[in-house]
Amino acid sequence: MAHVQSLPPLDIQRAPEGGEVGQVQSGWRLAVREFSRNKLAVAGLAILVFFVLFCFAGPLVYHSDVLNSNLQAVNLPPGSPGHPLGTDGQGFDELGLLMTGGQAALEVGFFAAFIAIVIGTLFGAISGLAGGVLDGTMMRVVDIFLSIPFLFVVLIVAVRYGSTVLSLSLIIGAFTWLVPARLVRGEVLTLRVRDFVSAAKVAGAGRWRLINRHLIPNALGTIIVNVTFQVADAILAVSYVGFLGYGLHYPHQDWGDMLSNGTTYMLDGYWWLIYPVGACIVLVVMACNLIGDALRDSLDVRLRRR
């Protein structure tokens, strides 16, 4: 019998170190990181936060009277004692007016965008998932409402029923849900053929569960981008309605109404009644547009830098 050579000693080589395992990066975290790299977007976010604080927390810090007119202090220029931005034609402090006027603009902007998104998302998701005749009919309804010049209908309703924050938000929301509906329908059409939807269907998910748990969360990127643009459009729409004279009136304020009143003093050279208000509108709308553009870029996987 041959001598069985003993096997060489077992030399188990350790597996090479894999290195540090980083924290799992979820899709949202990557998007947030991408967003924060875009300096303009961060500036836009800062501007928006500043205006929210300015309009809602400002009046708590800076006390001014925008309800009782003071005819001894009419049309004072900026720098007058007690009135950093001057006063308007009824003696109201301009800075206080900016703060309270902005409340209406921001409230209508966010509320109208919220209404539009909720209605539009549900409509688009149901339409996209259902398909067939129901889908065709629902999209024809969207086409019909899209053809209606929305500013005209807003003005007509405002003339007849008066304007409050609630009525303006409802009517603006009632006409701007169309674009999110179309976008969400497009996303749902892309998503419904994916495997996870088929898996959910096989597992017995009903239509509502599919919409709520699977389709809408995955379409959330498009929805969020659209929300920011809806807010910008709603604030512009409110300023148009206010400028034409159908916005909120005393004792409420809104920026469009302030601009409209200020225009009567243009030839007198009272610039502080016009340009600060206009600058506020432009800054808020620009901030929303910047945030929306950056969100669109950061949620698009193809554009992401590694």
Binding site: R140, S147, I148, P149, F152, L155, V159, L259, I274, V285
Partner: protein
Amino acid sequence: MTTYLLRRIAISIVVVVGVSIFIFALLHVIFPSPAIVVLGVKANRVAIAAWDKANGFDRPWFAQYLHYMNGLVHGNLGYSYKVNQSVTALFGERWARSLYLSGISLLIAVVIAIPLGIFQAVRRNTIGDYTLTAAAFTVYAMPVFFLGLILIQVFALTFPIFGFEASQSTSLWAVMTDWHDMTLPIATLVFITVASFSRYMRSTAMDTLAQDYIKAARAKGLPERLVLWRHLLRNACLPMITLIGLSIPVLLAGNLITETLFNYQGLGLLFFSSLNTEDYNVLLAYTLLGAVLTVVGNLVADMSLTIADPRIRLA
């Protein structure tokens, strides 16, 4: 191609009918009958009811709708009880002026936006591109009337070069040749339109520049000027066709805000004064006109794009 065309036209007709039903129903809810306007605010209910019956306002709203649509098809847009004129006559006075203002602004804006967008794409990420993008972004975020106010302040009040009110002449030729008064309204519209058009133009031109045929043309030794002129320009203009088609409703329905700001006697100002006097027949006709033009504009945009772009294959 023809089946696609016919299908699109059929869908457009359905949409127009749907829009007209909705708008008519909306206005019927808001303003059921002009009896109070005609008879005076102190008219009693019996008189109002009698007037309604005599003029067909007590019929069910769908019957009134059919009657209105019948009139519409025959060119009768309704009657304004506040100014005692037919709506067709009111529109007839003003549509040419609105068309001129919107048309010349659109033309100038397209002529400016195309080279501007191409310039921004060719010289991307340089100072020129950044400045123009920033300017376009700021103007895009501005309400139209604020831009108009700034232009009035700078060019009509501080440096009195132009007039701050648009030409009030009733003669279209006088309006067209009055550069002193018409420059600012046209400039306001042009800036706003260029701001949005040049954004599209820039991104389309950037996409087109990345295409292989541009590379091939450059590799063949074609001078850059000809590359831009022969290849880039034609292909980058395609979205502009869609944008122009989508601007058609504004062309005729008038630019509400600009006309109000500059007091230009066009269809937009007519809408605004009808709002103030609550002249609902004019408002109804105007909104319907806007809606029909939107549908027509979409149809024209789709059709022109299909004709212009041979890559679009129709099912």
